[in-house]
Every structure is written in structure tokens, then in C-alpha cells.
Amino acid sequence: MFSFVARRLAVAIPTLLILIVVSFVLMYAAPGGPFNSERPLPPAVLANIEAKYGLDQPFWKQIVNYVASVVTQFDFGPSFQYKDRSVNDVIAQGFPVTLTYGFWSFVVAVTIGVSLGVAAAIKHNTWLDYLAVGISIGAQVLPNFVMAPILLLIFTLWLGWLPGGGWNGGQWPYLIMPVIALSTSYMASIARITRSSMLEVLNANFIRTARAKGLPMRRVIWKHAMKPAMLPVLSYLGPAFVGMITGSVIIDVFFSTGGIGQFFVNSAFNRDYSVIMGITILVGALTIFFNLVVDILYAWIDPKIRY
């Protein structure tokens, strides 16, 4: 197991480096630049700015300098768009916000999704099953950019129960709508995967054996069926978790949460090179890390899997 983890981490480093170089090249290949605007800057002004941000250097040197400062000092450079902040500032401010609502969305999505899926599988082809499938399909087809304004209309304008947006340090009234809007479609996917996987497991021979030896249904489900049924769910949860905690631009746009999703999308529009790179690396590193976590959990859940 240890050598497996070490091997994976060793592969992660070149993967990240390739990610950096490819993103860097793609970013520079896109037309425009961080200091283009409707009123083009006079050449002398542009030259000053490019010198300040090192954009006057040859391309290869920019990549080398960038990688060096990231690796040696963990410094992602200054933001080109937000003149008096660094990328580290942007991430330090936006990421905890995203992490908070992303984490709670994950908890909600997993709890409700797995419960619905298991209930539907146990009560296969009954009204409970149809209801669960109905809910999850409904949740799946209702995109969050439609749901967010509807939630706002109901809870903020009509009922006046919840603030219509903002973050305020993450107090719970500000969390509710973002969590509902973000978790719904994940919850639906988790429910469907859980249901089909659980159905398959319940028809397996070892479950029949367990029931034949007289175990109560509850014990069969929890002790024997749950773990194997969770394997496909788990492979979905790794990327889903990264997706949730690295933010959703929809949530940030509709609920003004100030999370990292909006910074990410804006940075692409503004050609804020350093912020694009910083967040890309963050998301890349998290994806690699949680895929590793999922693989380790696999081995723990399924004794057949050995690394």
C-alpha cells in the first residue's frame, strides 16, 4: 500500500507539470491579453505594465520563472486584474468559501442520495421506488441556473425567510440556498447510481446466502450489501467532491458568495493569466489527490482489490 501511494504521488508531479505547461500555452494562444481594453493603453504605459508583470520576457522564460516561483516559494504571482492582490490572496479568500458550501453540499448530496437510492432498491417497483426515481430525475433535469433564481424568488422575495445572497462569513442562513442549488443534481446522480448498484448486489449469490442463513434484512443490507454497493458510488464521489469544493460559477453568480468559481471564470474572460494558472493548479492538484483517496478507499471497502 505504501509503495502504491508513493508511486501515485511520484506520477502526480509530472502530471501537474504537464498541466501547468499545457494551460500556460493554451492561455497565451487565446487572442487578447490581460491589459487589452476598449481603450488600448498607450505603448509607454503598456510597456511599464508588461515589465512589472514580467510579460516582456521571452515565453519560455516566463514558464520557467513561473514554475520556479510556484515550486520554491509557493508563490503564484500577482493578479493581473486585481492590481493590489496576489493570486495567493484571491485563493485564500475564495477557496474557504467554496470549500464550506461545497463540503455541506457534498454531505447533503451523499446523505439524501444514498438514502433515496437504497430505499428505492429495497422497495424495488413499489411506489417508494417510483417516488425516489421521480425525485432524482426531476432534480437531475432541473439545472441549478434555473433552480437558483426560483429559490431566490420563493425564499427571499415571497417568503422573506432567507437573505438573497452574500456570504457574511458563512453564517447558516447564507448557506442554505447555495447548498440546495449545488447539491441537487449531485444528489440525483448519487441516488441513481446507488439504486442500480444496490439492485445488482441484492441479486448476488452472497446476499442470497446471507438471507438463507436467516439474517434479518436490515443486517443483510448494512453488513453485507452496503459495502459492495458503494463501489460504483465511490468512483463517482471522488470527482464529484472535487467539483463541489472547487466551486460552481453558477452558485457564485446567483448567490454572490464570493467563491472561487466566479474568480475562475472571470479570470478566463479577463485573461488574468496568473489567476487562471493558480486556480487551474489548485483544481488539478485536488483532483489528483482525491482520486488517490478514492483508490485507497476502494482497497479498504473491497478486499479483492490489492495494490
Binding site: N36, P40, P42, V90, W167, F255
Partner: protein, 544 residues
Amino acid sequence: MTLKNRLLATSAAILIAATGTVHANGHATHPLTGETLASDQTFTYRVGDESPSYDPGLVEDVDGADVVRDLFEGLMNQDAAGNLIPGVATGYTVSDDKLVYTFTLRDNAKWSNGDPVTAGDFVYAWRRAASPELASPYSWYIELMSIENASAVIAGDMDPSELGVTAIDDTTLEVRLSQPLPYFAQMVTHGTTFPVHQATVEAHGSDWMKPGNIVSNGAYVLTEFVPQERLVRERNPMYWNNDATILEKVVKLVVADENVALTRYLAGELDMTDVPAGQFPRLSTQYPNQAVSVPQACSYYYMFNLRDNAPAELQNPDVRKALSLAIDRDIIVDAVLAGGQKPAYTFTHWATAGFETPDIPMASMTQDARNAMAQELLAQAGYGSDNPLSIDLLYNTSEAHKSVALAVSQMWKQTLGVETTLSNQEWQTFLEARGTGDYAVARGGWCADYNEASTFLDLMQSESGYNDSKYLNPEVDALLAEAKTSNNPQPLYDRVEEFIAQDTPIIPIYHYAAVDMFAEDLKGWPTENFEQNWYSRNLYKVAE
């Protein structure tokens, strides 16, 4: 509240600010209008995106400038109608050759830490704004002000200390210009010219603007700042005219989606927000006292590519003029935009200070007459049903630009039989295409940097970096050069506008209007200020 009441209230607030004798703070009624003031004097408003910076030397956008005007105070301010009124300076004198401005500073202006605001603070701030070291994207503003040696300082050929600005003593600031500039005094109301506190900047570097570090001299101080979420500013007790300030706290929220912002406004969370595109007719009927449309200092136009590589058919001025004539601006402003915009036949916005819209023949014609003339011009140029003209029209991705482009292409099709291919590009790609001349007809929008016609017309100058049409006309250049030093530039501007109408390098389509929702208890908004320069200290809330 009617517009008249709001204006009255605004002038009242200004009057107090000017005299400083009435103590409004703590009173339950407004000292001049007698209106009962609300106990909670908090103003919350919406912006669509975070500003790049609130540092006076770096600020570059309108939302950022609004904040800077509250946190800092420059030499001069604007009143509700946009006229110059004293700020940190009580006044100024101009030398006979109009090259030297001498500002006299009030001796009671203080920084939020109690230090006096001196002429040296302005000298430091202006040198800093121009310095290659700060590399401000707005350093060109110092150059635009024609301050002596500005270009050389920005280019790094001279030390910032050579910039033409000197503190004669603590309360006397001398500014030397490289050429006379009739609107120079107007330009010192912009954030780039506001003072910064040298000791604070030097102590904290790029962190000096953060709450806790910042020292400022405006009516408000920065107390909370969460980028992309909120920015809070509160009354500055050290401000020299603090007694006249009524509003205690101003909260700026970033709400990216304008429809969400409207929902939150209607739920009472915001006191002010933009009216989403196309919703003004409905909202002004439903909330007649809240939905307000006022002129905004921008012009919307289409530009023709006049470079050699551009499509040959558009090099014929008659063809361009025909295309301009065939656009029914009234339909665009009344049916497509419906937000109080005005049809444009001149590039300069109709509400620009000191500008009388000249008589452009096209403006007084009926649309039928325009259409007839357009058909005739196009036929003469050799285009008709057997040889239809086809055009590529490029705009930056946006629903509003798309609806205008669709309407225009329909008008061209119906009146002239022109086949238009619409294409849209994401903003940065669009700017690149337009700047390098990779288009035939492209959308343009230009907003005034200062309230004078040359802010628009200078784009028609051959050398202008913003002349994306590459319209080259030596006569226009000569007129614009003459206008720079003329005491009465209006006739010169008239002739430039006539050239634009005749040569049609661009098609002016409409002049912008700002459409906003204002809470009924919010008073003092300067709706008459063409540049929409507002100061929170002139606003107040009345008890409902």
C-alpha cells in the same frame, strides 16, 4: 419621489456641505428640507463585478471610481449638476498663458489619522500615478491632463520628480501644463488625481489599501472589504466637513446577475440596482417612483473598417452613408432597448456639457425620406436586387448587442436588400479583432472620460489609438487640434460632426441612458450629473 424633489434635496445637501454650519448628524430631520430622517442611515447598492483596484493611483473603472470618491477627496468636487465646487482646494487661479494652475488648499483638511492634507500629498500622489514603478493602467490620464513632462515620466525617460507639479507651501499647489487645456480643472475631479498618504503607502506597500492599514481623506473610511462580495465604508469623523455628512454607512455588494439583483432589491436588501435590459417599461409602470432613466455619458455606434485590407465595397462613402440612413434609430431605442436611450445622429452625446447638437440633415428627415435616399445612394454605387451587397457585422457576445444587430440587419435587408452575416466574439477576442482590423463592420461603445465633446470626437483623429476604423482625414485632425486651445470650440465640433455624417466612418446609433431602481426613501441622488459622479455624503434616507 419626483425628479424635482430629488434635485431640491440634492442642492440642499450641497449647500450644507458648502457652508458646513448645520450639524446634521444626530438630528431627526434634514436641516434644510425638513424631511424626517430615517434612524438607519445605511445605503446598500449593487455592482456587477469586483473592481480591479480602489487605489487612487490605480483605479480604472466606474464602480471603483465611485468608491474612491467616497474614500478620498481631490482638489475639486462636482455638484449635483456636474459643476465644479471646491474640494480640498478652495479655489484656483490660472496664469495668462493658461499654462500654470495654482490651487489653494484649505488648511482644515485632514487624513483619517489626523495628519493635515497638504499640497505635498498631491505632488506625491501624482508622481506616483505617473511612475513606471507603479505601472498604473491609468497613468495615461496624467498624460491626458497635459501636465508638463508627463509623457517622459511615464516612458521612464525622466524621474517622476520632474513632473510639472510643485508644492509651493503646504496649502499651495502649482501645476504646469505643456499646452493649454480648457477643461483641465474638470479633470481633477477624477480619482487618479486624488491624494494618497505617503507614510502609509511606504509602510504597507501594495497592502496599504486594506482595512486597518488604509489612511484616507474622504468623507468615508474603508472598514470591510471582501473581494467579489462586499465593500463597506463608514463615516470618517476626521473629514473636514463631517458635520454635513448624513449617511453613516455605505455597503457595496457584488451581485453578478442583474435579475438576481432586482429580486434582492424588491425584497428590500438593496437601495439601488440596475434595471435589467428590456425591463424598464414594465418596472416604470409598476414602480413609477423608483425606476429612473437618466442620460449616461456613452455613445453606441457601428464602425466601418477603412483599412486597405477591408472589403472594397465599404470604402465607398455613399455605401456607408446609405447603411447609416437605413437604420431606424427610433425603433432601436423605443422597441429594442426601451430604457430612455435617445437616437443618435452625432457621435458626441447630446447631453455633453457645452455641446449643442449640430443640425445634421439626416436627423430632421423622416425615416421614409432616409430610406429613399439610402436606396438612391446604394443604387448609384451599383448595388441592387441583381447585385446585392453583403456585409459581415461583428459584435461582442451579449444579448443586448445581439438584439440591436438583429434589428439593424433586418432594416438593411428590408430597405436595401443587404445580406448581413452576424457574428459575435467573446470580449477579448473581439477587441483583438477590432484593434487589428479583422472585421468589416463592428460594434463600438465609447464613454466620456470627462464632460466635454472632445472626449468623443478625439476618436476620429488619425493618430488616435482608439480610432479602430482608421478614419484618416487631415481636415478633421486640423479642426480637433484647433479645438484644443480654442475659447469657443463648438463651431469646430459642428464641422467634425458634419464630416462624420458625410464620410460615415461610423454610424452613431444611440446615446446611452442609465436605468436604475432607487429605493423611495433614498434621497439626494444627482440624476442631473451627466457623468453619474455621485458622492455618498450628499445622499440621505428619510423615514417612511
